[in-house]
Each structure stands twice: as C-alpha cells, then as structure tokens.
C-alpha cells in the first residue's frame, strides 16, 4: 500500500464487512436480551439493507473513467476497527455501550469516506452519508436503552 490511498474496492469491502459484523453482533444481542429483541432485529435488517445499498451504488456507478483507484486518500481502515467480541454474559449497559462504540466508529468511517469521495459521482458520497445517518440514528436509539446511572 502507498500508506494513504485506498481503492474504492477496498472501501466497499470494508463497508460490507462492517455491516455484516454489526448484523451478527445485533443478532447476538437479540438472543441475549429478548425484552429488546424486536429493536435489535430491526437493527439486523437495517445493517443488511445498508450493506446492499452501498454495494449497489458502487456497482452502478463504478466506471473505468472514475478515479476509483486514487480517491480515498488519507483514510486508514485501522482507525475504524474495534473489538467485536461481547464479553460472556454482558449486562445490558455493557452491551449497549459496546454497540454505541461500534456505531460511533461506523459513523466516523462513513463520514470520512463520504468526504474523500466528493470528487466522484454524487451518488457515491450520498450513499456513504446516508449510511452514516443510519448509524447515527441507531446510536441515538441505543442511548434510550441505557438504564439510568446508579
């Protein structure tokens, strides 16, 4: 790697991985916290939808004429990688705080790649911004699940 410029393919693959792993994570929460299963299940579906939207946007706009190999400068994917493993028998607070951290990371990822892709067709940064807003709303919804601090 040249250290600072990623290909569009690498960015989209990271997005796919992120959405897949988040969906898996929320499936686990759905099992562990049946009282909130409906909400966590909706998160699973939302992750799957976001993943599809990003890939579809990429596949429908990628072209030999776009600078797909040179547009994502200054992005380091390591900055968005977090610990995904839930501790055994987590409390709701532990689980939600971890989910919030993951969503915060996702929001930052989509915000950064949207900024980096402004020179590409408008549909590409728009798709990233939309994904970022979805994660932002989810982070806020998670906040409501947190029990009051003791």
């Amino acid at each position: 790697m040249n250290g600072s410029t990623l290909t569009a393919s690498a960015i989209v693959s990271f997005s796919q991985d992120l959405e897949l792993r988040l969906a898996t994570f929320y499936k686990e929460l759905e099992q562990r916290f049946p009282e909130h299963a409906e909400l966590f299940h909706s998160f699973v579906l939302s992750c799957e939808k976001t993943g599809k939207q990003v890939v579809r946007t990429y596949q429908e706009t990628v072209s030999d004429a776009l600078e797909t190999g040179y547009s994502f400068g200054g992005i380091s994917l390591e900055a968005y990688r977090l610990d995904w493993d839930l501790p055994e028998a987590p409390s709701l607070r532990e689980a939600v705080e971890m989910a919030q951290a993951l969503e915060t990371s996702a929001v930052a990822f989509y915000s950064d790649v949207a900024g980096a892709s402004e020179s590409l067709l408008a549909t590409i940064p728009r798709a990233f911004k939309r994904a970022g807003r979805t994660h932002q709303r989810r982070r806020e919804a998670l906040e409501a699940l947190l029990p009051d601090p003791v």
Binding site: Y58, A65, T68
Partner: protein
C-alpha cells in the same frame, strides 16, 4: 489485503458457440495465461475458416425469423440479458482481471460500461423508429424505414475483453441483425461467458455466436459474402487493412484504432484535481487503452519563462510524486492500483520504448523497470511500474508512438497554440483532454482539436453508451461510430417509401 476469490479454478477448454450449440474446434489450442500469476487458466482454439463459415451460415439462417421478431420482443431478450449480467456482475469482473490483468475496480468499471450498452439497446423500439411525412406532393406520402441488414462480425481486442464487443452486439441484435463475435485469443473468456448468458436470456440460436481464433477466423469473416459489416477495435495498421478489404467487398466498417492522446494542462488548472485525474488516465488499465493519455503538455501561456519553469515543476513533481506511490500487483488484491501488462512480449516492447526514450535524450524521472510488487511471490514477467519521462519533445519516439503501457511523457509548450500544433501534428485523433478553469480555453480546445473524444478537466474522455464513441484521423476508419444512435444507423439500412393511392 486479501486476494479476492478467483472465479476460475483449473483450466478451461473453450468451445465455439455456433447456432446455439457449444462445439469443439478442430483448430490448434493456445494457452490463456493470467498475466499476474503466469498460470494457464484456459485453452482457446484457433478456429478454422470453415468454422467461421458455419457460424455465418447459422447467423444468416437465423436472420429472417429474428428480423420478423417484434422490436419489443427483441428488447425483452436484452432486458433478460441485462439482468443476467447484473446477477453475474462480480464473477464477470473477476474473470476480466484474471484474463487481462486489470485491477478489480477497473474490471467492475468495464462490466458496468458493458451492461450500459445492453441497457441503452433495450430502448430499440424508440431508437429504431423511422419517420414519415404526408403530402410531400399531391396525395403522396413519404416514409423512412430502418431495416436490419443481416450478419455482422465483431473482432475484439484484448484490452477490454468484456466491454468492447458490447459496444456493437446489443445494438446489432436489437435492430434485428445477427452477430458473430471473434474475441481476442489473448483474453477470450468473458465473451464465452456472455454467450452463455445470451443463451440463458433466450436469444435464439444463430443470433449471437462466438467463434474463437486469430487471423484465419478473422479473414474468413471479412471475406464471407453474407457478412454485411465488420466492427473492429485494435491497432491502426490492422484497422486500415480491414477497412480496405471490407471496402473492396462493399461491407460496412467501424474500425476504431490506435491512439496517442495528449493532456494539456493550462496555468489556471487545479493541480491537485488534475493530477488525481491524470493518474487514472495515464496508468489506468496499465496504459493499455486507446483513451489513455500518454503525453502531458504543460503550457506556459501568459507566463514568463521563469514562471513557466515553476509551473512545469509543480505539475511534474506532483505527477511523479503520485505516480511513484501507485501500488502494483495482482488486480484481485484490493490494495492494488495497477495490474500487469498483458504478456511478457508486451512488457518487452514497453521496455524497448523506455530504452529508446533514454537514447533519444529524454530524462527518465520515474523508472518503471524497478518497482515494489505487492505480493512478492508473484512472478515479475508481466509487471512494470509507472514510468515518467521529462524533457520530451514532440518529435521523439516516446511522444509519437502508441506505447500501450504505463509510460508518461512530459512536454513543455510555451503557448496554447503550440500545444495544439503538437496534437495536430500527431497522426492519431482518438482523444485529447484539457485541464483549465477557463471556459475560453476549454471552448477553443474543443473547437479546434481534431480528436473524436474531448475531455475538459476529464482525463478519460469515454463516451457513454448513448453517445457515439468517436475517433478521427488514424484512430478511426469508417463513417458511423459504435454506440447510441450512430450504432443504430450503422446496423440498419434506410429505406424510403413514396406512396400514392389511386
């Protein structure tokens, strides 16, 4: 980063697709080699003249019924083909990377461009519509009808193995013609896969055939009296010969040929945006594309000599800096920005041009003969790094010949007019780009430059499917171009009916 999964496992033995059947060829087999790994991924037959004749005969036999098929029904076949291509998007893209070497982003871009041709051709009920006018004389009406001609041949190059036949075939088939595609023997896999999908889409037997091979098959296609026209993309000498031979037998021809494209950078250009765009333009597809820019002309219009020097230095330094950081490796590695050249002999040819540039006095600023390869275990037979020459003058071989590799020539021009005179003096006329923030320079450029595809702050002036892929001078032989309405006109004859009823 991990290597994406290869869709081809083992070694494929390609067959011809003639009259809706997959048939073995009696011709000799040639290896299909993945240039990144140097592994043989298939064998392609060098089909005989008789086999080409069989495909043309089947196409000619299928033509009357296909012609009578309503345009909307023909369009529905193409809608189904489009859906199947979408479903196979990733597989098709990875096949291209394996057979050609381009990066996965580039392959996906090529897949998208190809699918767009099919999409546009589905509009054939409107695109093919004629015209009429009542009362051109007393009680007389006149009608223009567009009718298909019969069988068309398509001779494809290796550098866009998936997309280029789709510049023509969907329009030919949509207008009621039948096609015989002869893919490049150097990268034939995509076209076999497309034929499988065309079969699945319900395109009737004989309407869309694929005959693999080289000169013998191509010559048989051109000589066949039932072939009404030939579409070719490749080198200028071959295109010129095809134009001559087909002209002698009255065939229609689209021959899109070689190029040596110029990018002109004016002093008011946004350098950061320009250089990013130029990377794709000069080094995309490893320089193996007819729309690639190869000569970068830094113009000093309105600047003093010292200011021109400083501007030239800024542009070239930024260019070299970015080019030197391009990652080279196997295109299925998502970290890679530039793949290999197609084969070792092509690499040798590019290396020869680098040596020639040195001998002619150009300054080798970035030497692609030494470079880091992502994936050290890969054989280096076909890899070469981005190469940049400075102090190039327009008469040098570097600036004249189509190198078809990742070699950039930096040239100075004192004025806009001098830059245009360089473009004018070059025998090719495929594409040219200008980078400027001045509408005046942009307008002058597009008005005066004799190239078929003009980019304004765009490095790759690639026309969309609904515009013609143009070309001038030694870059194009023919009258009508591929894609869009011009393709519809190429694949149809205009018939005029003048009616009076007593």
């Amino acid at each position: 980063m991990a290597i994406l999964k290869e869709p081809i496992r083992g070694v494929l033995d390609l067959q011809n697709y003639i009259d809706g059947e997959w048939v073995d060829s009696t011709g000799e087999l040639q290896d299909i080699v993945n240039p990144a790994t140097m592994t043989t991924i298939g064998h392609v037959p060098m089909s005989t003249a008789d086999e080409m004749a069989a495909a043309v005969a089947a196409a000619q036999a299928a033509f009357p019924e296909w012609r009578r098929t309503p345009p909307l029904a023909r369009a529905r076949c193409l809608f189904r083909l489009k859906e199947l291509l979408e479903d196979s998007f990733e597989e098709l893209s990875r096949i291209q990377t394996m057979e050609h070497g381009k990066t996965i982003d580039e392959s996906r871009g090529e897949t998208r461009r190809g699918i767009e041709m099919v999409e546009v051709a589905t509009g054939i009920p409107n695109l093919m519509m004629g015209a009429n006018l009542e009362d051109v004389a007393a009680g007389i009406d006149e009608t223009l009808i567009r009718q298909p001609l019969g069988v068309f041949g398509i001779i494809a190059p290796f550098n866009f193995p998936f997309m280029v036949p789709l510049w023509f075939a969907p329009f030919a088939v949509a207008t009621g013609n039948c096609v015989v595609v002869k893919p490049s023997p150097r990268a034939p896999l995509s076209q076999s896969r497309i034929a499988e999908l065309a079969e699945e889409a319900g395109i009737p037997e004989g309407v869309w055939s694929v005959v693999h091979g080289d000169q013998e098959a191509a010559s048989a296609m051109m000589a066949h009296p039932d072939v009404k026209g030939v579409c070719f993309v490749g080198s200028t000498p071959v295109g010129r010969e095809i134009y001559r031979r087909c002209g002698a037998t009255g065939k229609r021809v689209i021959a899109q040929c070689g190029a040596k494209n110029f990018a002109v950078v004016m002093p008011d250009a946004d350098i950061d945006m320009t250089v990013a765009s130029l990377m794709t333009s000069f080094f995309g597809n490893t320089g193996q594309r007819c729309l690639a820019n190869a000569n970068l002309v830094v113009v000093g219009e309105g600047l003093s000599a010292s200011e021109h020097d400083a501007f030239y230095r800024r542009v070239v330094d930024a260019f070299v800096s970015m080019a030197s950081r391009i990652t080279v490796g196997y295109g299925l590695d998502e970290a890679v920005q530039m793949g290999p050249i197609k084969d070792p002999s092509s690499k040798e040819r590019v290396l020869g041009y680098i040596q020639k540039g040195i001998e002619e006095g150009a300054t080798l600023r970035l030497d692609g003969r030494t470079f880091d390869l992502v994936g050290n275990e890969l054989p280096r037979d076909c890899f070469i790094g981005p190469t940049v020459f400075e102090d190039v003058t327009p008469e040098m071989t570097l600036a004249q010949d189509e190198i078809f590799g990742p070699v950039a020539a930096m040239i100075r021009a004192r004025s806009f007019d001098e830059a245009l005179s360089m473009i004018d003096a070059n025998p090719y006329g495929n594409a040219a780009s200008i980078f400027t923030s001045s509408g005046r320079w942009a307008r002058e450029f597009r008005y005066r430059v004799a190239c078929g595809n003009i980019g304004v702050n765009v490095g790759i002036a690639a026309p969309m499917a609904f515009f013609p892929f143009s070309g001038m001078k030694d870059s194009f032989f023919g009258v009508l171009h591929g894609q869009g309405q011009e393709a519809v006109r190429f694949f149809t004859e205009s018939k005029v009916v003048i009616e009076r009823w007593f």
